[in-house]
């Protein structure tokens, strides 16, 4: 082998090592973040943390029951609004989306996916908070729905497009009208994929803070009234992280661990819903 060939081989091996190193470096922060979350958060988590509301500043103890319930309610409202619209728009893109309108909707969905969530937050404030005169959990749910819809419509479209055309043709040949074919055969077949898309969207909006700052606002007391301010885990972490008390910082880490655990669980469920797709790959 000539010296040149050896040099070229060596370069190939070295560069393989370099990209492998870069890949490791890219995921290293994740390991640190998980490590810190567990190290600093786990010791503060006990039964009281889940069932008690925050105590006045300066006191020790207290929990985040209000934030856990609030996160559930606000994300639930977001799903109530976002799921039908997002999935409907996704079905449109897959079934009728080959024309100009389809291109436009697809493009807008992709562009809106990158719109800063804080901008959606101030938009929701002008339409849903300012006219009523007070902050509300409902406005927060609507803001999160606006973030959810573009994401969901694109994943739904992708999943529905995976359904083989022969299934659709078989249903049509049996005399099914198009709408029933679309709902009972095509969407039904893609259901696992659509569920995955919905779960991924839920995982993302559950951790959102910026659009809730001027809509749900946050609430240090336990509240389930949807037309009043409500706490979420993300808002609570923000308040505690910026506060001056060590006790608050301790609770912030614990709340972050709980939030991260929830997001992780939903993400894993999303993978599980379409597990067969991953196994065959």
């Amino acid at each position: 082998m000539s010296a040149r060939a050896i040099r070229r081989r060596a370069k190939s091996v070295v560069m393989t090592g370099v990209v492998a190193g870069l890949a490791l470096l890219a995921v290293l922060p994740l390991l640190f973040i998980f490590g810190d979350l567990i190290h600093k958060g786990a010791t503060s988590i006990d039964w009281n943390f889940f069932v008690k509301s925050p105590v006045p500043a300066g006191d020790t103890g207290g929990g985040v029951a209000n934030a856990i319930v609030g996160t559930g309610i606000i994300v639930g409202m977001a799903c109530l609004i976002g799921l039908p619209i997002g999935i409907g728009a996704g079905l449109f893109l897959a079934e009728y989306g080959n024309g100009r309108l389809g291109w436009l909707v697809r493009f807008v969905a992709d562009v809106m996916n990158g719109t800063p969530s804080i901008v959606i937050g101030i938009f929701a404030w002008t339409w849903l908070v300012r006219p009523v005169g007070h902050f509300s959990a409902m406005a927060g749910g609507a803001a999160l729905a606006m973030l959810m819809i573009p994401m969901l419509s694109r994943t739904t479209e992708e999943m529905v497009r995976l359904v083989p055309n022969s299934l659709r043709e078989a249903a049509l040949a049996l005399g099914y009208p198009r709408w029933r074919t679309s709902l009972a055969v095509v969407a039904r077949t893609a259901l696992a994929g659509i569920v995955t898309g919905a779960l991924v969207a839920v995982a993302r909006i559950a951790g959102e803070t910026a659009p809730l700052l001027f809509t749900a606002l946050g609430n240090l007391n336990f509240s389930t009234a949807v037309n009043h301010p409500m706490q979420t885990l993300s808002l609570q972490i923000y308040v505690y992280a910026t506060g001056p008390f060590d006790e608050w910082h301790r609770l912030a880490w614990a709340a972050a661990l709980v939030l991260m655990g929830f997001v992780l669980l939903v993400s894993l469920a999303a993978r599980w819903a379409t597990r067969s797709r991953y196994e065959t790959r």
Binding site: A23, P116, I122, S267
Partner: protein
């Protein structure tokens, strides 16, 4: 034989067609079926139309509310650096500067990491590494922004203060970019946290782009005697170039609009400083911090103007990025000289 069946088939088809109008059962079936289809299509179309409508509504609302400020300060709003709610004078230059610089700083760190990860995952990694590593990268994208912020405040900043910044200062302290005392909350901290946050986006999209490059590209290069790295460098990367640029721009779009993590670590000061060790501000952070304090109409209007600028910039960056990615992922780049 073949012609026979085809003929019979055609005849049967013709018979059905001829019979259809005169068969009441079929006609009846046709009417409501079409109605159902029409209703279904209309509902889906209306739901899909909500997306462009929402985008237009957001753009219109931002413009309307920010109009008083835009009218009063004109284009100078973009390059004046005074932000004084008491005197009612607003200029967004420090925030625009901070947004752009922190995002570029983030890109500077994130791009090599993300591209390295994408190249490794698609071209070199053995099968058993691909899935877990890919999953870890995806998980990075799932960490909520506020959790990154919390980690930034209590782990990253102390780390930068004790380990990261002293050598940087020793090496580059003489340049204007590393001047001044480092207290923690700074442009540098924001850049680093943004880098960590956008790595998964850039890596995921470039991975898709690289996967879309036909295997024949690699085979052809290696058939000509290229080593594996040469094949990647000369045949795979140039093919996917516009898509990779698109992926980087998607990351940029994320970084520009990132709010919570940046707000927690950047220091939130309306300053224009060349040094990355000094506190700064971003447009998103200003909105998060000052929106609830906006007591006068002009203050509110100025904040909406900041939101409008941010919105326009991110829309432009994202639209361009999408077009670039679509080029590769849809195969439009085949044969063309790909940018």
């Amino acid at each position: 034989m073949t012609t026979g069946t085809t003929d019979a088939h055609l005849k049967a088809k013709a018979a059905v067609h001829a019979a259809a109008p005169s068969t009441p059962a079929l006609v009846l079936q046709h009417g409501p079926r079409n109605a159902g289809d029409r209703v279904y299509r209309t509902i889906l179309t209306l739901l899909a139309l909500l997306l462009p409508l929402l985008l237009v509504a957001v753009a219109a609302q931002l413009t309307v509310t920010s109009w008083p400020a835009l009218k009063r300060f004109g284009p100078g709003f973009l390059w004046h650096s005074t932000w004084d709610p008491v005197a009612e004078v607003y200029g967004a230059a420090p925030m625009i500067f901070g947004t752009v610089v922190s995002s570029l700083l983030g890109l500077l760190i994130a791009v090599p990491l993300a591209l390295g990860a994408a190249i490794f995952l698609t071209e070199f990694a053995p099968r058993w590494v691909r899935q877990p590593l890919g999953f870890l990268v995806e998980l990075l994208a799932a960490v909520p922004s506020v959790v990154y912020g919390l980690w930034g405040v209590f782990v990253l900043i102390p780390f930068l203060r004790t380990v990261g910044v002293p050598p940087l200062k020793a090496l580059f302290g003489w340049t204007p970019f590393f001047k001044g005392v480092f207290y923690g909350n700074s442009m540098l901290a924001a850049g680093v946290i943004l880098a960590i946050m956008i790595v998964p986006y850039i890596a995921a999209v470039s991975r898709e782009v690289l996967l879309a490059v036909p295997t024949t590209q690699r085979e052809a290069a290696m058939g000509l005697g290229a080593t594996r790295w040469e094949a990647v460098w000369t045949a795979v990367l140039p093919y996917g170039r516009s898509g990779i640029i698109g992926a980087v721009m998607l990351g940029l779009g994320r970084a520009l609009g990132e709010t919570m993590a940046v707000t927690l670590v950047i220091g939130n000061r309306h300053d224009l400083s060349a040094s990355v060790l000094q506190p700064a501000y971003t447009m998103a952070a200003a909105l998060a911090n000052e929106f609830t304090e906006a007591t006068t109409q002009m203050y509110l209007s100025a904040l909406f103007a900041v939101g409008l600028v941010l919105f326009v910039i991110t829309i432009a960056v994202n639209a361009l990025a999408r077009l670039l990615v679509w080029r590769v992922a849809r195969g439009a780049a085949v044969g063309s000289k790909a940018l």
